[in-house]
């Protein structure tokens, strides 16, 4: 009878619009979440599993309703006169719901990973144990739903518990506080070392078995049920502890590999080589406008683990282990850095021809924004409106950089003349012809205007660096 009932419950769950609706919602959210970034499969997998918790929540509710069904709608009287006992009904749910939940979660996660894999230049790697963790999480949720149905009569408990778990995960996104015992840890960074996904998977599977056995124990203490529960507990607790202990244990980052693309050297972590052409294409409008000899000024573009602090440590152009698909974020930072490097622009001061040419190069690669207000250049100043967006740095917060030239100062005149230069069809030839003069540190905008065929139009403030 159990087999028939398992199949019956499985068929009902597989036809459940709630579960498939949750899977569709989870997939849509995962796709939306991942579409904002170049695909780093390590992070995409975590995002997939995070989204799959929606499936897990739906499975929890569905399993709870299925396991507690015999207490509702006046059915107990009918069921009481049948040879099939309550324990059989519970057993059917704790066998069917985890399988169906796991299957639907697997379909959702696989669909998301597959979609990302075929649509983008993928970096990182799919952590199979992480992905299986999402599948196990849905199965665990089914066991939890069944156990709750058998031990509590209140239908409000499952949604409340879901909210409680979501809160616990949200306030502990890095898993610093017993994160191995959470359903999942939201954030990750390459600098934190490998995630303890294998230990966490073992924990989730064992906990699922604990919950299923716990649901069956409601029908009486039997040796097999007790042994299964204790054995699973004996696995779950150490696995959770191991996952907690090895999280953020720190690691030595892998050695970078260097590749040349359009004359620029990029040194990156081995799993991110696929992103080099993306960066190369972003820099092409800059590099194609400068003389060959100027490219030699561009230092090696190094990849860094996403961190706002890392940005402040270097004046070299850098790429990150996170990369937004929004060209006004990470790409704009890189373009500004390279434009500054190729023109030799550094530090503060206004009225410099270097800054005007650098802004022209930036404008060739993307939108050229108005200059930030003068206060924005003050170091450690208050939060002020600036012309750069806040650039997210993955799990490590975000970065606000004044202006579009990696913090190098400029004013309204530089932006105004750069825009005029962008309008000139002969701009590339003129810049190349007078490159050395234009990029010499002492050349002012006023001196550069005749060389570029521009007339005086905007008031120039020539303020040297204090």
């Amino acid at each position: 009878m159990t087999g028939s009932l398992v199949l019956f419950e499985a068929r009902r769950l597989l036809r459940s619009p709630v579960l498939w609706g949750a899977a569709a919602l989870a997939l849509a959210m995962a796709v939306a979440g991942s579409s904002a970034w170049l695909p780093d499969m390590t992070m995409v997998t975590i995002g997939s599993v995070t989204a799959s918790t929606i499936v897990g929540a739906a499975v929890l509710i569905s399993a709870n309703l299925a396991a507690g069904r015999d207490r509702r709608h006046g059915l107990p009287e009918t069921l009481g006169a049948l040879p099939g006992r309550a324990v059989t009904r519970t057993r059917a749910v704790v066998l069917a719901a985890p399988v169906v939940g796991a299957l639907i979660a697997a379909v959702m996660i696989a669909a998301h990973l597959g979609y990302v894999w075929v649509t983008g230049p993928v970096a990182g790697r799919i952590d199979v144990y992480e992905a299986l963790g999402g599948v196990a999480l849905a199965a665990l949720a089914a066991g939890l739903g069944a156990a709750l149905a058998r031990w509590t009569p209140w239908l409000v408990v499952p949604p409340l518990l879901i909210c409680l778990l979501a809160f616990a995960v949200a306030v502990n996104p890095r898993g610093e506080y017993a994160g191995g015992f959470l359903p999942l840890v939201l954030e990750h960074s390459l600098g934190w070392g490998p995630r303890p996904s294998r230990e966490h998977l073992a924990y989730l599977v064992a906990l699922g078995v604990v919950l299923a056995a716990g649901a069956l124990l409601r029908h009486g203490l039997r040796p097999v049920r007790a042994v299964v529960l204790l054995t699973a507990l004996a696995v779950a607790v150490p696995a959770g502890m191991a996952a907690t202990a090895s999280a953020r244990s720190g690691t030595k980052l892998p050695a970078q590999v260097c590749r040349a693309y359009e004359g620029v050297s990029y040194c990156v972590y081995p799993e991110y080589v696929a992103w080099i052409p993306v960066w190369g294409r972003a820099l092409h409008p800059v590099l194609s406008a400068v003389p060959e000899r100027a490219r030699a000024r561009i230092p090696v573009v190094r990849q860094r683990v996403a961190s706002p602090g890392a940005m402040l440590e270097t004046d070299e152009p850098v790429t990150w282990t996170v990369w937004s698909t929004d060209p006004t974020l990470h790409q704009a930072l890189l373009v500004g850095q390279v434009a500054g490097a190729v023109t030799g622009l550094t530090g503060c001061g206004t009225g410099r021809a270097q800054a005007m040419v650098a802004l022209w190069l930036v404008g060739r690669a993307g939108p050229l924004l108005d200059a930030p207000p003068p206060q924005a250049w003050r170091p450690h100043g208050p939060d002020l409106p600036v012309s750069m967006k806040e650039v997210p740095m993955g799990a490590d917060g975000s970065l606000v950089v004044p202006g579009q030239l990696h913090g190098a100062q400029y004013g309204d005149a530089e932006v105004g003349y750069a825009r005029r230069l962008l309008e000139r069809p002969d701009a590339v030839e003129r810049v190349r012809a007078h490159w050395d003069t234009l990029t010499a540190p002492g050349t002012t905008i006023k001196q550069a205007l005749p060389l570029l065929g521009l007339r005086e139009e905007f008031p120039v403030k020539e303020e040297p660096c204090p």
């Binding site: 009878m1 009932l5 709608h73 006046g74 059915l75 009287e77 009918t78 006169a81 049948l82 040879p83």
Partner: protein, 283 residues
């Protein structure tokens, strides 16, 4: 005898609902009559093994429900329609009956589906198999509940107020079905519809205060009222029970009213006289 009840006692708190009840039921349809609270449903629940008695013994189909293994075996051979049958509104008609069929140990899928289709056809719900239960009318739900009780062709069928909510046509179909089933098995039927008892039951038991106050055929129950049923043109003052009929005359039970002429008694007359409650009813 298929069903033997000896000294059956059941209390809910301080209220004695079954009072040392002794009954025997054989093959055929037996009707249980009695006013609300007489103990009919408690008796049926006890016989259907969903309620444990406080005392006494039950032996059904040669099995003792007090023994766990025998109780399970009895449940395999039992069909039960409770007074307030429950339904899962999100199940389809077919799913609900199939769910019960599985729990009744009909494990072979093909046979089970055939059986589900059979019982749905018996209650005229075959064309509603894919309909969600929540979309069924009250009468259809009652037929659905009856369908699940017929699963597995049970040897003992216990039906608690099965005709509630059925329209006249469905009641006729129901009577035909039950009378056919009663040919070779024990059917126990609780109802407030004396017409159903008169039309269906070979035997009737009237319960009052947890005890059986009458056991016999419907004819015997009606016969018990012979000489106490009258028709008169004026409202009788001294009758134990009377009501105005459609032709404007009064039907009175009890002593002969002034100007009263004898009337042919029915099951209802016998039942009402047995309960012995003075009531005035006008039609």
């Amino acid at each position: 005898m298929e069903l033997i009840v000896r000294g059956l006692t059941k209390s809910f708190g301080r209220r004695l609902v079954l009072d040392s009840l002794d009954l025997d039921f054989g093959t055929g349809v037996t009707g249980l009559l009695g006013r609300n609270g007489a103990g009919k449903t408690t008796l049926l629940r006890t016989l259907a093994t969903t309620l444990a008695p406080d005392g006494g013994q039950v032996r059904a189909l040669g099995l003792d429900p007090a023994d766990r293994a025998q109780r399970t075996e009895l449940r395999r051979r039992l069909g039960y329609l409770p007074q307030n049958p429950g339904f899962y509104p999100h199940f389809t008609v077919f799913e609900l009956v199939e769910y019960v069929a599985i729990l009744k140990e009909l494990t072979d899928r093909r046979d089970r589906h055939r059986e589900v289709r059979r019982v749905l056809a018996e209650v005229d719900l075959a064309d509603r198999a894919r309909t969600k239960v929540r979309k069924l009318s009250g009468g259809m739900r009652q037929r659905l509940a009856l369908a699940q009780s017929l699963l597995g062709d049970p040897d003992l069928l216990i039906l608690d107020e099965p005709t509630v909510g059925l329209d006249p046509e469905q009641r006729m179909r129901f009577r035909a079905l039950i009378s056919r089933l009663g040919e070779n098995r024990t059917v126990l039927l609780s109802t407030h519809q004396t017409e159903d008892v008169a039309a269906l039951c070979e035997r009737v038991v009237v319960m009052k205060g947890g005890r059986s106050v009458f056991e016999g055929t419907p004819g015997e129950l009606a016969g018990a009222a012979r000489g106490q049923v009258w028709l008169s043109d004026r409202a009788p003052d001294a009758a134990r029970l009377f009501w105005r009929t459609a032709d404007g005359r009064y039907r009175a039970l009890g002593d002969r009213p002034p100007g009263g002429v004898p009337a042919e008694p029915g099951v209802e007359d016998g039942y009402l006289l047995l309960l012995d409650e003075p009531v005035e009813v006008t039609a």
